[in-house]
Symmetry: C2
Subunit: 533 residues, 2 copies
């Protein structure tokens, strides 16, 4: 029996920066141990390639096209139910520790007369999570003041530990020190090789793990879902000692980019590659400076996850705890001449996904690798099923992973997975001369072909059999027309089948079948002989 769900998110963690996913120099023994106890999904994709739309898709179990929170800091509306809403009626309260990147729909609250400070308002404004500690992990200040109006509790914590000032997050946790003691802002990638100004035990990953352990202790033997949402290895790329020094340039895997790709003139690709966060990776030594810090942050996360799992084990809680660990999206790190995420090469859209089901039904699959096309959208139906509920088919667009966790290889499964990007808030929107509603990219991937519909532009197409590195965009190649047509058909079907009829359950519909005629609605009847009696 599953009484608890531990749902761990990592932020901007590439699928291939874990040793169980094959990274040759980065060791992640604790996450690997989870993969050995559970199922490692080898072809998992995010449904949105930015923090906000990826997470909203996980919480709502719906694609961005359906939930509407299409990028960071864009709210979904109050009618969207979330993970916490679905689990609550099953007796499982969901607690958040860390990042959601969701913004409340204040206009919607105002329209419906709901006080955002009252219980319902707080619930709705906080993605349905009732308890815990939200921390989106980005708290810098600049010439125009604070990025986020509200200070994180983490700043209080740092001050209590002796790291004071106006913004300890910025000045200590995300800064380094220069030769002469000057403070070096961790946002500047040049400083990535230096240690953060705080010891590892006070860094954000450790802090959130402490909070998780406190939560576990407080919860005792009760049922819960803990959404532990780490804010690393997302930038600023600055790791505390000793993690800043675990890896060196020699540990950095070769970049995946080709000269031919650099000549690709697809306007969307060119616009994204031209952004500052793409260009910076062309700088000599950028990868060798930054990637070891990124790897160090991942390694630290692995240690922290190990500490938390160890605590659960020590308390005897593992046997009834389903554990899922994933990321919202990857990080190009200079691959494909790109930085950040947003587009759909594997470096960005593919994510690690490991699920441990402790029950005997899952024994046969332990340590196995499943290569079905799965999405982070599948987590919510999995969680609902794990605690004995039934996923509402009129709302949820993912599929429960349970058959795959239980080794049912014969289960019928999707043949295409979809992901989306709305670049409405990115500078590329104006470069590409797109309107606010027309900055849309949609990926369809069938395991071999990755097709990207670019509203207003030619599509992209990658053939991961012939070109596993995704260097060649065949989207404008007339020779690939049959494949492109097939992928378009899949996308048309997907779009038509999204779950938009959300205010009426399937059960509600089924209950009304045949009712009208027996209440006098006699459409198309010629005479009395055809009436129901």
């Amino acid at each position: 029996m599953i009484k608890r769900i531990l749902f761990i998110m990592m932020d901007q963690l590439r699928w291939d920066y874990l040793s169980c996913y094959g990274h040759p120099s980065l060791q992640t023994p604790n996450i690997d141990a989870l993969a050995a106890r559970g199922v490692r999904f080898d072809r998992a994709y995010t449904q949105g390639t930015s923090c906000g739309n990826a997470r909203a898709s996980i919480y709502t179990g719906r694609h961005p096209r359906s939930h509407g929170a299409t990028w960071n800091d864009i709210p979904f509306e109050l009618n969207q139910l979330t993970l916490a809403d679905y689990l609550a009626p099953l007796g499982v309260q969901t607690t958040l520790l860390g990042k959601t990147h969701m913004r409340a729909d204040h206009d919607g609250l105002a329209r419906l007369g709901i006080d955002p400070d009252a219980e319902l308002g707080r619930h709705l404004a906080n993605t349905g999570f009732e308890h815990g500690e939200r921390d989106d992990g980005l708290h810098p200040s600049g010439p125009d003041g604070r990025y986020q109006a509200v200070e994180p509790r983490y700043n209080e914590y740092l001050r209590a530990k002796g790291f004071g000032g106006a913004n300890p997050w910025q000045e200590w946790a995300n800064s380094a020190e220069g030769e002469n003691g000057e403070i070096l802002n961790g946002f500047f990638m040049r400083h990535a090789g230096r240690p953060a100004r705080i010891p590892a035990e006070y860094s954000e990953s450790a802090y959130m793990t402490d909070r998780a352990i406190e939560f576990v202790d407080r919860a005792g033997d009760g049922a819960w879902c803990l959404h532990l949402s780490y804010i690393k290895p997302h930038w600023p790329y600055i790791a505390p000692a000793p993690y800043h020094d675990y890896y060196s340039a020699a540990d950095v895997v070769p970049v995946k980019r080709s000269l031919a790709q650099d000549r690709d003139d697809h306007p969307v690709y060119r616009a994204f590659a031209g952004m500052r966060w793409g260009q910076v990776w062309r700088r000599e030594g950028a990868r060798e400076t930054v990637i070891p810090a990124y790897m160090g942050l991942v390694r630290q996360l692995d240690d922290e996850i190990g500490r938390l799992i160890g605590h659960l084990r020590a308390r005897g809680l593992l046997d009834e705890t389903l554990i899922a660990i994933t990321a919202d999206h990857g990080d190009y790190l200079g691959d494909h001449w790109l930085g950040e995420k947003d587009l759909f090469h594997d470096a960005s859209a593919r994510v690690p996904l490991i699920v441990v089901d402790p029950r005997p039904q899952a024994d046969a699959s332990r340590g196995s690798v499943v290569d079905r096309l799965v999405g982070t959208i599948d987590l919510l139906p999995t969680f609902i099923e794990a605690v004995g509920g039934q996923a509402p088919a009129h709302r949820l667009e993912g599929a429960s992973l349970m058959p795959l966790l239980h080794g049912q290889q014969a289960v019928s499964w999707r043949d295409t997975i979809f992901s989306e990007c709305d670049y409405v808030r990115m500078p590329v929107r104006r470069l590409l001369e797109r309107g606010f509603g027309d900055a849309r990219l949609t990926m369809a991937f069938d395991g071999r072909f990755k097709f990207v519909h670019c509203l207003g532009f030619a599509p992209m197409l990658f053939d991961l059999h012939e070109d596993p590195d995704e260097f060649h965009d065949f989207g404008r190649d007339p020779g690939r027309r049959a494949v492109i047509d097939d992928m378009k058909d899949r996308m048309l079907d997907w779009a038509a089948g999204l779950r938009n009829r959300t205010a009426m359950t399937d059960e509600g519909l089924a209950a009304t079948v045949g009712r009208s005629a027996r209440r006098g609605i006699l459409i198309g009847t010629w005479d009395e002989s055809e009436a129901p009696s």
Copy 2:
């Protein structure tokens, strides 16, 4: 200046059953007079081919795929704003008289703790309309009791006029009498040639017109939007005297169906054609019996609309009143071997649409016919602009008709119009072995080609240049592949550009551009030299 909007809906009125649209024997002088004073749109399409999704699209200004009220009696969620919501802040209160066919989202109200009987709850439960009289026009009883739990006020009215009984709507207004005084249920099409058991002045069309005149008188010189939503010529096909006898079999236009079409084996077409309301029109004499009654109901509506317009004229209100008149969808009446609506032949998906703008700017276009592809979804942005507002582009998917009303022929306009059908609640769903979420049909029409995406089946394609009667489905014809591919591309683009980011305005987004960097978010910066100052 527009101070008032009179928005008249007719229910199930085919585009070609008005004399101004070319009907050879049905005379509609009052509606024709509106066309002479305004613009008649000759290629107007509904966005949904059932009563519910068509109306929800008009009220929300969004396609069914976006508002989710995909068929009759399926609610949209509370986050969907409506016509009344958009006009209220502009100082225009919207009053409903007649049919909406919307059901309240009671689950949503309960979840948000909104009392459905309090002011906000009533507002939300009534599609945003605050006042007036809702009457969906179908109040029969059957072996299992009343179709609608709540009795219409019209029943009270009939009783007061001396037409009593348990259900005067059924027993008087929608019944005829046999040779021996027996009551003949108007649902049975066999009786369509007989008069209803009430005089025309007490019939539903007259009753609602009386209510509209009362409203106009009560409102005096104030601003208003009146949504007068007639429930005729929708079945039951039974007209009061003398309208039952205005037309005869000689006035019925020839049926549009071919023997070749009857052999079309497209599974979706076959399933719809096989339904009772398709089959009934194969009966000898069905069209000759029923269509004169349908025409009589239209003629009566025309008289009633004339009475209302005459009243507005007499009160001197016409000069500041924008008038729009349309229908939710058509009625096959046996064309294409089909009954009812639902599919996308012109008999079903094409609607009449006439708009009268009284202002001098529209003088040049008076009496003109516009053949741009327009949709009923364009009404809401038109109304908003008419009373001085600006249509919110992040929500509304239609375009204001104002440039076309003002003779701006050079305006750039859409090249494709879309319409949808969700047959989830129809018996064909099980016949076609589709799930509750997968019973979707989507039309794209570019003025020549009408393409229908049928989820799970081959598409349909009609070529209205070569085959204006839409007898030949080319959807499986390899020779039409280029056209089909082009139409699929249009549909893919349309689906990707639908307005799902509804909780953030374009203006809200524009205001945040460039803000992050000046608040310390320095993505992709290498060193201090790149920071904003």
